[in-house]
Symmetry: D2
Subunit: 259 residues, 4 copies
């Protein structure tokens, strides 16, 4: 099995090193990862400037781009053969609830899915991030990779894995939960008297609802959330039907000409 590995914490992160080591026991791995931290970059693609890829050691490519760039460049440029699986992580910290839309780690798995390659993202829902802290999640990832080699995911679907610390009691399939956002902006003055702003990091809560990723982690279980690329809210079609949008006719047809 050929496995392409990336992350958003950067190619030096202990999380990707632990992951790569465990995956190398079950397949042939190539690491294509950002040259430095690129967290919270979402599904961001570098279109207007070129990318560099440096092979920092055999099979490890550092790219001056986003995780999404890394997957794109890996599959279409750096790897000789198409990978059988993409694994993104192990992220420093959980990727749970709506936060996954910001996550570079999750977006890399999304990119692989768009390219038709099975993928999962894996995150360590803890707060200590030494090399050894990632061992459990790395071993889990290797076993999941083996399962995915034999099984088939539904079309356009990938998995978002969160692993609790220090150990897990089992595995739950979950749905995406919901954060309670209480974000703030911190305003400051630089030494030259010009204002600047930090996007703040207030202590965030979440809705601890059964069946969600948050709930699984809280209960000590690995959370496996199947995600897809279709953001359509089908249940809101009925609501919109009542808006009589059909009456919003074109300027050309119903506008000034008829006035």
């Amino acid at each position: 099995m050929r496995i392409l590995v990336t992350n958003d914490d950067g190619i030096q992160s202990p999380g990707i090193l632990a992951l790569a080591e465990q995956l190398s026991t079950i397949g042939e791995i190539t690491v294509v990862a950002p040259d430095r931290e690129r967290s919270a970059v979402g599904h961001s693609l570098t279109l207007h400037s070129p990318l560099r890829a440096e092979e920092v050691r055999p099979g490890f490519f550092a790219v001056d781009g986003t995780p999404t760039d890394c997957i794109h460049l890996g599959i279409h440029g750096l790897l000789e053969k198409r990978p059988d699986l993409v694994v993104s992580g192990i992220n420093k910290g959980g990727n749970l609830g709506d936060d996954i839309t910001y996550s570079g780690t999750v977006s890399a798995a999304m990119e692989a899915t768009l390219m038709g390659v099975p993928a999962f993202a894996v995150s360590l829902a803890g707060d200590s991030f030494r090399y050894e802290d990632f061992q459990g999640a790395a071993a889990f990832s290797a076993r999941l990779a083996e399962i995915m080699q034999k099984q088939t995911l539904p079309a356009d679907t990938f998995l978002n894995i969160n692993v609790p610390v220090p150990d897990y009691r089992g595995v739950w399939v979950t749905r995406q939960g919901k954060r309670i956002y209480e974000d703030v902006i911190v305003e400051k003055l630089d030494p030259r008297g010009r204002k600047y702003y930090w996007i703040g990091g207030g202590e965030l809560g979440f809705h601890n609802i059964e069946g969600t990723d948050f709930h699984a982690i809280g209960a000590g279980y690995v959370s496996i959330t199947p995600l897809h690329l279709d953001l359509t809210n089908y249940r809101s079609f009925q609501t919109l039907a009542s808006w009589n949008l059909e009456t919003m006719m074109s300027l050309g047809e119903s506008g000034e000409g008829e006035a």
Copy 2:
């Protein structure tokens, strides 16, 4: 009605100027937009460096960040009162199918939704982007804003609007379609002999399936797709149930200790 306006083409783009002008006829607008083009940045948030906001003219703030940053900074920092609506656009080119996950324009509306503010993204599905080309989509946006003031969207839901050119025959509520990706990487050498790569721009196709955003645009209709923030693929739960993931027990419980 207080309306916060942003985009991803930058505050100088004719699309946001046309939009702001039309919206100012129905509400009090504040523009908080990137100081330069930030397309394809996805749902990207700037956490590790600070942001600057310059009021380039009254009510127009240029920010050195992403569209998502602009919404965050606008709602929590720059606006005195919480806006009633966020409108993001008018984007130069359609935001259709899976491409919306890359879109800074759509991600700004997503961010507003996370903060509990009703929002829509609007894009011009054409290839000429002069100020006058945006007039039809801008007028449509103003009318939609008026409707949204009276109606209530389902929770956690926002609208992705695409407007065809040169005019539209009506309005369809659609689901998110699917692109056919044929991306390539272009490899080159710089004058110093070092390789670099462009993420290529091959001519892309799409699945022209009835009910999708692509199909509406192709038929000359405005496409309104209700989107939500839940990426869970509920229909794949059954598939995963058959994987016997429960057998993947923790290292601590079933691993070396028992060997």
Copy 3:
């Protein structure tokens, strides 16, 4: 006379607009300037990523690079004919004493000199920077450009002009003065608890010595300092001669071989 105009405050700065307008009365101008502020960038050249140049209006090119890049790109890429003169400015604030080594404005004139094009940098030694504040310095620049068209500077030499406010009593040829540096570093914590640092801006003094640029500005005179590219301190040769450096023989000759 063909004049290439740049600055480091960015192509939108009132200083370059006032300068371009006045110079256009005596020659044919092309503006190639940074798309945004690039002050304190020194003699910085962009070698490892490519540059973009957008003609924002006829004869005005905005470049996503440094002032030095702008001169390079202007002379070798964008201008059809080699310019007769390069003028860089008008800078918001004086470029006096050792500070010129940091200055993007002065470095642009240095770059032109390396390419064999006569050049001067011009700065407004004031603290109000509206369009009208630059008129005196702009008019002075136009007259100096006319003089430089008839005169010849020594080889590898360019001029650094500082204009006092609100008006000047005359013109002095000066030497580069010396600042008293009292810089500080400001240490802070971001909302995520990570340290960051600002290079501080303490109120700086200078040695008010007769004959220097500082002294001219203090006395209300335009300061014209002829600069060259030779940083050699010839007077220190004698000091170094006494160091017996000749005894520092190569490892190969005197080192391991003799052991």
Copy 4:
């Protein structure tokens, strides 16, 4: 002796590692260097965004800024005591002739000089840059550091050292030579049809004049060039005297007032 070490090739470069190792045999070193390559950045200072410094291993700080920033931050922020010496290098490739004005390595020594700390920059004038290639220059640097501890440089003066390969025949005190610039701009189109430019790297020559840094390297000698911060071309004062600049009176005095 406390020695602050930096470079412009980045903290991972073998040149700075070889240098730090040799200097640690004669003093207490702290490395404060850019987190990645920052060559050709000149005397560039980061004033409008903050800096980060990460202690990647004891006594080694990686900074997301320029070499000049590193010196500033090192002396005023990170080091507990003021260093006795700053050494910048060992640069991958010579810093000879006018090129020193672009050099981040040389500019770091310039910054130290502005802060009153003795300094030298050191470059390897070769084209192979493995760890072992830097050993000769590193050993030379350690011996020069010892000499500089006992000797006193003239005020505002620092040394620019270039070491030839594979070995050197002796040491010459030189003056700054002159390059022959033949730069070109390479124009290209990206995959989306937009132009971009590379600042080209034509094969450059130089004036092989006796007494210059170029000549020393060509003859197999270490080149030591004493540099200062005074760019004034004193010899051009006479030329400028003949320009009758005194007649360029102020607009206020000779302009509207006399009309």
